[in-house]
């Protein structure tokens, strides 16, 4: 297997050093706490799946040194804030647990961050909300905030495609999507694009006939659809069925970077532009190997969130190992190590993951386009 041979070479030196440092086998305990059920399950479940695969692989490769391993368990907060609070409080009360990878996003992430800071317990939340960082030194975010990701697609809209008018369709009842959409609107307005209409749908909606007719019968150069993949594909399908001018550029953000998008949208999503940290199928040796291993294990191809979970676990593992190597495998040690991670090899973006001084993650984005039913890197 490609991954493992690669990882072994990458880590064997470190592993040997570690073996010398620690005389006896160590267990490092961490918990993957995500929303496996409830409203954010479409993120949390996928992140957890990716993270579990990464943790298993790393243990198999002896990443933490001879005999050492990461002991991890997966917990579900059901996207319920009270359950998040109670789970993190309880996990914090167990001194052996070094950190939590999670919770997922939105109110559960913020609530989790708050308890974590109160109890001085490191958490790596999946969200990209800066408020989690502002909450205190113990809470981290795993995904890049909108201020880093959205310029990629906004610049592409305004400069590369050169559009002048745009219709925006977003989700009105999910804070993460609203934040991305707002950022996009601000950026393109700044770049001189006029927003001609702005509509919000609910996550549970599927009847877009009225909306599609409205947008299709008005005049604009581009339509931005800021929704989850399956829903976005469906909106685009209904837009096309309502007779949207085929020359109109359709754009979306990184939520579209999922095999689901192409599967649900079929021919209708041909030519759609999007940004993705994850190029499905992988775009270098490490990420292709991940794609292969993931599909083999799970039976379906990895999507953006699977890849994020996998990458996030790489960062977590590096931090824990760094802390252990520094002889400080404590919560404080892990927290400090987490904040200092630089150029960790990951399967997303430009393949390295770095946290800056403000602990904001950066790993890059790619503008993609659907071509012949596949994601390809969009023409510059």
């Amino acid at each position: 297997m490609k991954t493992q041979s690669l990882m072994l070479t990458a880590t064997s030196a470190a592993a040997m050093m570690l073996a010398g440092a620690s005389a006896h086998a160590e267990d490092y305990k961490a918990v993957i706490l995500q929303s496996l059920t409830g409203g954010a399950a479409f993120i949390g479940k996928n992140v957890a799946d990716g993270a579990v695969l990464a943790a298993e692989e790393l243990n198999e490769q002896g990443f933490f040194g001879e005999g050492n391993k990461l002991v991890f368990s997966v917990e579900d907060d059901a996207t319920d804030r009270t359950q998040t609070l109670s789970l993190i409080t309880r996990l914090a009360a167990d001194p052996a647990t070094l950190m939590v990878m999670g919770p997922t996003s939105g109110s559960v992430a913020l609530a989790g961050a708050n308890v974590a800071n109160e109890r001085e317990f490191p958490v790596m939340t999946t969200t990209n909300s800066m408020e989690v960082l502002e909450n205190g030194p113990w809470s981290f975010i795993m995904t890049q905030p909108a201020s880093i990701t959205m310029p990629f697609i906004a610049d592409y809209t305004a400069e590369t495609l050169g559009v002048e008018t745009c219709a925006v369709i977003g989700v009105k009842d999910n804070e993460a999507y609203v934040a991305l959409q707002r950022m996009y609107e601000d950026l393109i307005t700044e770049a001189g694009v006029e927003i001609v209409s702005n509509d919000g749908v609910a996550l549970a909606d599927s009847d877009f006939s009225a909306l599609a007719t409205k947008v299709a019968s008005s005049d604009q150069d581009c339509v931005f659809v800021g929704t989850p993949a399956a829903q976005g594909a469906n909106i685009i399908l209904q837009l096309k069925q309502a007779g949207l001018d085929p020359d109109t550029a359709i754009l979306g953000h990184n939520a579209f970077a999922s095999p689901t998008f192409i599967e649900k949208g079929g021919a209708a999503v041909e030519g759609v532009y999007l940004i993705g940290a994850w190029v499905p199928g992988g775009d270098n040796e490490f990420s292709s190997a991940f794609a292969e291993n993931f599909e083999e294990k799970m039976g379906f191809p990895a999507d953006e969130w699977n890849a994020m979970g996998y990458s996030g676990m790489q960062v977590v593992a590096h931090a824990i190992r760094d802390a252990a190597e520094a002889g400080n495998a404590t919560r404080e040690g892990v927290r400090d190590a987490l904040g200092e991670q630089k150029d960790v090899p990951v399967v997303v973006g430009t393949h390295t993951y770095t946290l800056d001084e403000e602990r904001v993650p950066f790993f890059g984005m790619k503008v993609l386009q659907v071509k012949d039913g596949e994601f390809t890197v969009a023409p510059e």
Partner: protein, 300 residues
Amino acid sequence: MMQFYLAYQPIIDFFLLSVGFGYSQQIALRAGVFSIATAGFAALGSYCVAILATKTGIPIFLTVILGTALAAAVGGVLALPLARLRGAFQAIATLAFVQIILSLLLYGEGFTGGALGIVGIPREVNTWILLAVVAVTMYVLWNIGRSGMGRVFNALRQEESVASSLGVNIGKYHIIAFILSGALGGLFGGLQSLYTFQIEPHNYGFAFIVNILTVVILGGRTTLLGPIMGALIMALLPEIARPLAENRQAVNGVILILVITFLPNGVGDEIVFWFRRRKQARQQQKRASEKEARDAVSTS
């Protein structure tokens, strides 16, 4: 003990908040009002407190009072159109009320933060404050139970025509019930937002309605012990049944069906009724033996 409190403190707090919302739901049902508006009241109270606490310098305790007053007032106004409705129509209309509140919260972005909600609410509430507020609430509800108002509520629930034949102005007491339900919903909604740092409309959706309804159905619709037992079971269940994590919703559903079918009064009410019956039996026994003694004296 301290260790236990630290590990389980959020569960205890969650339990206390549920008890509060449970009483808001219960007071309506107790007066025969088929309302599920508690979610809407809670949303009003929590948003009022959150907005005032983050955007103005008003003292925190005052924001809670204002939130409570707002929800109570809205409850009173809501009662006016609902006074003419009964049963299923009341349930649907209150559900519509909750939907309207939620969509306005989503829509009024500049003011409510839309789907993002409001963040950075100061955390001013702890277990002891919650405990104190629940205790005061229980004292007031206890007074209601022993006063004419409680008797009227019982009458309205069981047989409305009897109440009106005795001079009870049904509309007036429905308004009182809605105001009380609104006040309690708003009060605990406000406390909740001072507890969780962040609120969003989603917190007061269908899941909230179902949870609070479950608390009251499971616990009982008439006694003070009802919501306490209901909230206790609801708080402990996810802890006990964590292995069933993915089935939690289904477990909730099964509980609702089983309890309403086989224990229609709820766990808490049944316990209270059992003690009450036992007391009655004792008193009757006592009276019977006294009578026997009297008879024995008079015949001798």
